[in-house]
Symmetry: C3
Subunit: 316 residues, 3 copies
């Protein structure tokens, strides 16, 4: 019975029309970002609070920059993982910050589902900035926007997502990025294939899966590499780092087989020498830095969509 319009906890909070509207809004925010003064007063007087229970400088700074470009105020509460299980204390914190006038909580937590629980305790909007292995919807939004805008730039027109072939490579099972991206691409009609060791595929498939990267490579429009966490190797889920790299890394030979307009993406930070052994700056299709830049625009779009009301507008 919750109003899904007020939150972005997961891709499930969006339908196709809402996702397309956010992509259009991201495009507008990207244009703002190219201005000499990239700051607009759209969210003046609004307050965004980062609630980070897991460290992520990169994501936190991206949201912070997005909020400041919209002239919102920001505050950050970085909580040690020791507090993770104190449900009562988390609820008190959320209620207290809500009573102080926080308009949006940006939540990162190592446990799946925490953004949904927080949304039950507050009138503020909740944006999921990564919960466990579950969802990371703003990453999916920035990735979709990057695919759309970079393909339009390379192909001369907006070809759309219908029938687009995206290979997501790596540890699908433990990746909130893969989960959100796959759901979002599915909403728009793209065809996703999950490529990686069988041990790193989710128990319930989200898409067609295979462990034969070389058999798929020439059919892909987008190669999306995931970060391989060292802890997966420690847990013996893959035979060895070398074996993983041999079978699944983007190496110079595989890079040479990519089609002319294929995009190479990564959510960062890259584990060089593990999932990628080629210098991405030598690949015409690599857009990893562009993803970071678009992350600001995508998060501006989400903040504006959730917090901007009739009394606000995007203007210089």
């Amino acid at each position: 019975m919750m109003d899904t319009r007020r939150h972005l906890r997961g891709i499930g909070d969006l339908d196709r029309a809402a996702l397309e509207r956010l992509l259009d809004l991201t495009d507008h925010m990207a244009e703002v970002g190219r201005r000499a003064n990239p700051k607009v007063p759209a969210l003046r007087g609004r307050t965004m609070c980062n609630l980070f229970f897991e460290d992520s400088t990169r994501t936190r700074m991206s949201f912070d920059t997005a909020a400041k470009r919209l002239s919102a105020d920001t505050m950050t509460l970085a909580v040690g993982s020791s507090s993770v299980n104190k449900g009562e204390s988390l609820r008190d914190t959320v209620e207290t910050l809500g009573a102080m006038g926080v308009d949006a909580f940006v939540v990162r937590h190592r446990s799946s589902g925490v953004p949904w629980r927080i949304a039950e305790w507050t009138e503020a909007s909740v944006i999921n900035a990564g919960d466990g292995w579950h969802q990371h919807p703003t990453q999916a939004l920035l990735d979709l926007y990057t695919i759309r805008s970079e393909r339009a730039r390379r192909l001369g027109e907006d070809a759309g997502f219908e029938g687009l072939r995206v290979g997501v490579i790596g540890d699908i099972r433990h990746s909130r990025v893969a989960r959100s991206l796959t759901e979002a691409l599915g909403l728009l009609g793209a065809v996703v294939v999950h490529i990686g060791p069988r041990t790193l595929m989710p128990p319930t498939p989200l898409a067609r899966s295979t462990d034969d990267l070389d058999g798929e490579l020439e059919d892909l429009d987008v190669v999306y590499l995931l970060r391989m966490q060292n802890e997966r190797m420690d847990a013996a889920l893959i035979p060895s780092g070398e074996e993983y790299t041999r079978r699944f890394a983007l190496d110079p030979q595989r890079a040479g087989r990519l089609g002319e307009h294929v995009l190479v993406m990564h959510p960062g930070p890259m584990n060089r020498g593990v999932e990628i052994t080629v210098d991405p700056t030598t690949l015409p299709g690599a857009v990893v830095t562009t993803q970071v830049t678009n992350g600001i625009a995508a998060r501006m779009a989400v903040l504006f969509d959730l917090l901007g009301g009739v009394e606000t507008e995007v203007s210089a």
Copy 2:
């Protein structure tokens, strides 16, 4: 010989007229807080520095939000308690920050009196955000404002404080909240009774005291519960947590005996199951969340009162 007008180190810096002026200013700031855009340019160009030698996310964020709503700049220096005794270093820090143009220091320290020492070293205003067991004047201000506005809302008119009966319940001895609140209520003519174990009463009484909560309950207009710190139980100042709860907690039975318009207050965070065993959301008189919201307005009032000069004004 210090100019008490420039600081809010304790309730002693105020007389009745000054306190009433701050309550009226808080009312104005609360109205600002209800606007679509709750931000005013009143303190643009002013800088507030949080000097926190004791962790308190809640209080720090309340001051920070208040300052930002007035368009002041803020900075935070959170100092580990290891530096507590380095008097020289504290003085250097204060002088250096003062030379950088800080206009107000908001100070929290576990030792009583530190805000007064800091005030000797700087031209900036000093606001006490809690010093040891001594003073916490902005908490008292927000509590008084909550009593005044919530009673006016419930009773249909501003009944004033004269003769108002307030029971402060718990560890009076170690509570800066109790001390500041009792002094401030006294200035306005309210009648305060301190209720709790004899071992937790101050050596020098601040008000009439008793350990018979049940004998007082039906005479109270305001029930103000203090947080019971676990360390008091460890120190054997009370027999046990269960015993404390049995004799002094607001439980469902006691809550049922409260009059229709009695307010139930707590400075937060509540120790549920210790000083309160009833869900406060079921009590019509509970205003704990409202206290948090009013904390922003009260701190805006104090900041504006100390830093706003002839060249500033509160306007949209």
Copy 3:
């Protein structure tokens, strides 16, 4: 082949004309700082990022205040020294923040040369806030501005730096302050003498050096005391703290021998009882607090010089 105009990594990025331009700009910013509202919109929409790999609250807050007075947005990344040797990770961090739109990195690092490496990885401006024993150019700029403005105030006219005699006293060898200050004073024609134990002089002299403070004292226009680090004594580079203080401290007797208009300076924080045993507030020539205040103006000047373009201007 780098554009030295875009960075302030060391005094070597400046020639005499550029240094004099920065001093004039600092004078303008100092005037802004004396206004009732010391905030100007000059850098609205620009973002400064503090990248601090070594703790320095004082310097970080000075840059932060300077940026906010120019209406720039700021973010801070304080990195534990454990990350010092992860070159790859530092590069990723810089590239990521650059892609998010950071316009200037303010870098403090315990290793010499890090700001130069960072400048190779980013399109943003790089400002050195202290690298190892190497450079600290904004400290030199604020010191030069303090000398110029305080001498003009005392002598009734701007006497210039030509022939000015400056004694820098202490641990020259390990001091980035001494290195930057000596180079900058040299650019403007001042005569610098380094005074301290032979063991604390650099292997390659930067200026004439001596260990006879008393023989130099009466020839100096400026006495610049460095902070003596306890670790030097531990490393047996000086016989003992008492011996150092006896031979090189500014004590009451030496202070009495200073000429009427001699300035006494220190980069802070002072090690009272070690390099100075007289209360500086009793010395008419002591300008230590003024240095802190001028630090804001000097950093505003640098930020404006590097980031202010045709579309920005300093106005109220």
